[in-house]
């Protein structure tokens, strides 16, 4: 149990206003939360939680997430099974900490009505989240829990922006709002 649990800090979903300046998102100062020891109390607590397998570890939620989030979690979980060289060009297995970061980030900025991204593994062991709709291309590359690159291209306006995401999620929520404008 010691090395097989990766705790996920999704205890409480921030409301939409909190998400604008989300303080729970700590990409710039990531602190590893792979548990090294559990007491019986911890184990009892974990038993009540919602666990999502991710390769050799599990992502743990304090409670089952909303139904609309389950498909995304399933997609994230699926890429945890990728083995070394999964792309035939020497790709690395996906880092569980990137999966944790992806789940945290999506939980912070999406809601049930937001278009859902493609969850794409990267050859360096990261995760890329992609939306291509409504004349917009939005790509988030989670290179590591501490580094998330965002590329937003609006074909309607002919504009393109590339940023590295920090604790301030406002740029991302703005981009996501543009994605949904065509609906």
């Amino acid at each position: 149990l010691e090395a097989n649990i990766l705790t996920l800090d999704l205890l409480e979903r921030p409301n939409s206003s909190e998400a604008l300046t989300n303080t729970r998102w700590r990409a710039a100062a990531y602190e590893p939360r792979i548990a090294s020891h559990f007491t019986f109390t911890d184990i009892s607590s974990i038993a009540r939680r919602f666990m999502v397998p991710f390769g050799p570890v599990s992502l743990v939620f304090a409670e089952p997430p909303a139904a609309w989030f389950n498909n995304l979690l399933a997609e994230i979980s699926q890429i945890g099974d990728l083995k070394e060289n999964w792309d035939s060009y020497g790709a690395r297995p996906i880092d569980p900490r990137c999966a944790e970061a992806a789940a945290n980030l999506l939980w912070a900025v999406l809601d049930s009505s937001t278009p859902k991204p493609f969850v794409v593994p990267t050859s360096r062991g990261g995760i890329q989240l992609e939306w291509h709709r409504a004349g917009v291309d939005l790509e988030l590359e989670i290179e590591s829990p501490a580094r998330v690159n965002v590329c937003f291209e609006d074909h309607r306006e002919g504009t393109e922006q590339e940023i590295t995401l920090s604790g301030d999620l406002r740029p991302l929520t703005h981009f996501l709002k543009r994605l949904g404008e065509a609906d």
């Binding site: 890429i79 792309d87 035939s88 060009y89 020497g90 794409v120 990267t122 360096r124």
Partner: protein, 134 residues
């Protein structure tokens, strides 16, 4: 590393009209609603994690050897195969060099910095040679 700083040399015997093939693994197929089509993710066009340049296969050489496109997917169930022109790579500041392997004599490498723009250019301007399985 830009092409001008690269230890690799662009091979002039690989013409701009040369088709460069690259395998696309399951998980890198995405539906682009803006294009109305399935295409590879930009994540499918990167250098190797060890830093060596992006692998491709010289399509015409495969055909000249009497093989078919599907042969480069042998042992890679669920993969697709895309093609892009050497000209596209060069327009993106990349160079191409032959690097035959014992199990793939048509192997080559596309060298140069793979910025997001470069990877997106490949992803949006390639064509399926072997479409992803349904």
């Amino acid at each position: 590393m830009s092409q001008s700083q690269s230890p690799y040399v662009d091979d002039p015997t690989i013409g701009n009209d040369a088709a460069l093939w690259r395998r696309v693994p399951p998980g890198h197929f995405i539906f682009d609603d803006n294009l109305g089509a399935w295409r590879p993710s930009s994540a499918a066009f990167d250098d190797h994690p060890d830093g060596s340049p992006m692998s491709v296969i010289l399509g015409q050489q495969v055909l000249d050897e009497g093989r078919i496109a599907d042969s480069v997917l042998e042992g890679h169930d669920g993969f697709g195969l895309v093609s892009f022109l050497a000209e596209l790579a060069r327009d993106q500041g990349q160079g191409i060099t032959r690097k035959p392997l014992s199990d793939e004599p048509a192997h080559a490498e596309v060298f140069g910095k793979k910025t997001r723009a470069v990877k997106k250019a490949f992803a949006k301007n390639c064509q399926w040679v072997v479409s992803p399985p349904n």
